[in-house]
């Protein structure tokens, strides 16, 4: 017994020593570092044309955009390389006047040649960004009449060029150094990127972190407040919160479910209000919409059968608002003057829904497939799909839940191999140009296979937007598109989701902004 006790003591002593050694190392973070913990780095590619939208979170600190954006998504002459821009009378030539004295991190001066090179590279055929395709179709040539002047020549008259090349969309407008890339090649550049943004790239450890260091002074943010900015990849939320509690990170991405816990401990919560719209749609068949959702009454009935307020409260913890317009990207509403009036909100009206179903000849319901999957930023995905299926069951609709992952649904949707089935997505909110770009893919018949709407009237309106050069007319067209999406019930808008972010207690004021896939760390790091 004595020996066993002695062994136990030795064991406990070893554990205690391990603990003491552990506590003694890796404790506090220096104040000069801003650390951000994200659940995903997306592709982890540090080259603008290859990263996709999500890399904007960190790439926007390394690179500058041709056209800057304010935190609320408006084009800004202060935030980009172009200090002003103008169009020719025929709207086919866009001249950008470049900021003088801007240097890349390697000391090379940023000139019009870099801008031309960057745009052509970012929209090239190897690009996987969201809007490379439309820009490739639209841009005829890029001229560089002077080192501080760039002219983008388009094939058709258009208003959209400055917005497509701005920070409000994807990475097509990011400016990269021509000489450096040509001398080291694409692969080296992707590992050791050089930009002209306020922070320089230091290190990337895939699956772990990306470290940036501040330049001395930058026209965007002045002298950066933090010498180092580190993005840490922490997939598990409990770990992110623990890191915040320990003071190891300053900003964490949070789920709606954990907000109360973290808030209770005194950590400030910042919301990206209506960061995405959770919307559902019916997969089209080879020839368009298929019964029973082909019948407008059925579509309205399915919308009326959802208690959105209850969904927002019980599934999304009250961090959501009922949505009324299918594909209605609300950040664009103010840009185009669209007002979502109270009468547009779908009431929870089961009796009327049942009557509509009976009128359409489906009094006893029908069978319907509902794809159920989780999405990044939407851990509640499957639960929501189950809840919606439950509501529809009250109309006699027998929903078969198909548990797959999103790519499987996306394939069925694009291949049109599951006509009439229902899927969903938490579509990132965006300004009017982003909303147009999305509608052009998801509500425009010519965009097969991604179309979900198949409505000739909407097709007609969307086809005019790109060619239109009168902003007021564009606004009117966009308003009409939203009105028709709602009045024809061309989808099932569920809720707008608010996305919470928690910060350490001593962090400065932070406007998380309303720019797609961009948390605007400029303000946090700004020394101005």
């Amino acid at each position: 017994m004595k020996r066993a006790t002695a062994m136990a003591r030795v064991f406990l002593l070893v554990l205690a020593l391990l603990g003491m050694m552990a506590v003694g190392t890796g404790w506090a973070q220096p104040k000069t570092e801003l650390t951000i913990a994200l659940s995903s780095f997306a592709t982890e590619v540090l080259d603008p044309p290859l990263g996709g939208h999500l890399v904007k979170y960190y790439l926007s600190m390394i690179f500058d955009y041709l056209v800057g954006t304010t935190p609320d998504g408006q084009p800004s002459r202060e935030g980009g390389i172009a200090t002003r821009w103008e169009n020719s009378p025929d709207f086919k030539r866009w001249t950008f006047h470049l900021r003088k004295g801007v240097k890349f991190h390697n000391g090379d001066e940023l000139t019009s040649e870099d801008v031309k090179f960057s745009i052509m590279r970012n929209i090239g055929k190897r690009s996987t960004t969201g809007y490379a395709g439309p820009l490739r179709t639209l841009i005829q040539d890029i001229e560089t009449p002077a080192p501080d002047r760039v002219v983008v020549v388009t094939k058709e008259p258009t208003l959209i060029i400055p917005l497509y090349l701005s920070r409000s969309l994807s990475t097509e407008g990011m400016i990269t150094p021509k000489k450096y890339i040509e001398s080291v090649g694409d692969d080296v550049f992707a590992r050791k990127p050089i930009g002209s943004g306020p922070y320089k790239f230091v290190e990337q450890v895939t699956g772990s972190h990306i470290t940036l260091t501040a330049g001395d002074n930058h026209w965007r943010i002045g002298t950066p407040k933090y010498k180092t900015m580190t993005f840490r990849l922490v997939p598990e939320e409990t770990t992110r919160i623990a890191l915040l509690r320990r003071g190891e990170v300053d900003v964490v991405e949070l789920s709606r479910e954990r907000v109360k816990d973290v808030e209770k401990d005194g950590f400030p919560i910042h919301y990206r209000r209506e960061e995405s719209i959770l919307t559902m749609w019916w997969v089209l068949g080879a020839d368009g919409r298929v019964p029973p959702a082909k019948d407008k009454r059925v579509r309205e009935a399915l919308n009326l059968a959802l208690d959105r307020a209850e969904i927002a409260q019980s599934i999304f913890g009250g961090k959501a608002e009922p949505a009324a317009v299918p594909l209605g990207l609300s950040w664009s509403f103010k840009d185009v003057g669209f007002k979502q009036t109270p009468d547009m909100m779908y009431p929870y009206d089961l009796p009327r829904a049942k009557k509509l179903m009976a009128d359409a000849g489906f009094a006893s319901g029908f069978n319907q497939d509902v794809y159920a999957y989780q999405l990044p930023g939407l851990p509640e995905g499957k639960t929501m799909a189950e809840a919606v299926a439950g509501y529809w069951e009250k109309l006699g609709i027998k929903s078969r839940l198909i548990p797959v992952d999103y790519p499987a649904f996306r394939k069925a949707w694009f291949d049109r191999s599951a006509p009439g089935a229902v899927g969903y997505f938490n579509i990132a909110n965006r300004d009017w140009i982003g909303a147009y770009a999305l509608l052009e893919k998801q509500a425009y018949s010519a965009s097969k296979p991604s179309d979900t709407v198949n409505d000739p009237e909407i097709d007609g309106m969307l086809s005019q937007v790109m060619r239109q050069t009168d902003r007021e007319k564009i606004n009117a067209l966009m308003r009409n598109v939203y009105t028709r999406l709602r009045s024809e019930h061309l989808g099932v808008p569920v809720v707008y989701l608010h996305s919470p972010y928690a910060t350490s207690k001593n962090l400065a004021k932070w406007n998380v902004g309303s720019v797609m896939y961009d948390l605007f760390f400029d303000q946090l790091a700004s020394g101005k």
Binding site: M7, V23, T25, T128, T129, G130, S208, A242, R245, R246
Partner: protein
Amino acid sequence: MLRFVAARLLQSLIALAIVSVVVFVLARATGDPLYLILPMSASQEDFDNARRYLGLDRPYVEQYLSFVGRAITGDFGVSLRARRPVSELIRERLPNSLKLAAFAMGVSLAMAFPLGIMAAVKKGTGLDRAAQVISVLGQSLPTFWVAILLVEFVAGRLQWLPAGGIAGFSSYVLPGFTLGWFVVAGLMRLLRSGMLEVLDSEYVKLARVKGVAERRVIWLHALRNALIPVVTFAGIYFAILVTTAIVVETVFAWPGIGRLAYEGISSRDFPVIQAVVLTTVVNLCVDCLYAWIDPRIRYAR
């Protein structure tokens, strides 16, 4: 002996070939990675371009043969997601997993030794039962749950240890314990049964009769002989720890090979999936082969 080794190597190569085909087919059966890589706004032209640039437009047989041809030279292709050579990603991540597995093995041995010896020496007592409960708990409690609890309370609430990432020795403690505790049961039982067998042997009885101190009997005579199967299985467990740490690496934000596999699977990154599976299969084969050809181990079996 040479024939024996050659036969084993041949078996391993056949196994590898079969595994490579299975993984290649299964990875592609899960779907098209472009549906994850390309944004929702991507057009058909974007899909066609990406497919061409990533080499996914070629016939499957051609893709497979090209993969095998390159894999033999250690070139597993380029990650579809990270756009970097997969061999480079593995070189970056594997050492992290090996270090974590080594630490976890240290933890499990540090727990299994006293528990196993105590259980054998105090067979049938409360201490024996307690030792077995502790070890079995490690195997039966879900690793994910243990990891989350440790992060939430030990790191987040008590703030004793780091919650995640690699930042010095202290960051090994929680993931190492989580991973190590899982294998304690196996090692502890092996040690306990080995000890019981040896303690009951004639030479131990003789030592006791001759008046050798009990401590010396246990630590010198009994333990040394009970160690052979433990060491063998510790080697195999080590390989298993390296390859099964996906959950632990994910919870503790540990950039290891398990996380790489998880990222590869969730993004349909075929070259990464194939490379990780083949690397781990090779490791396992090497370990098993080693275990098989080691004469002590063959005798132990």
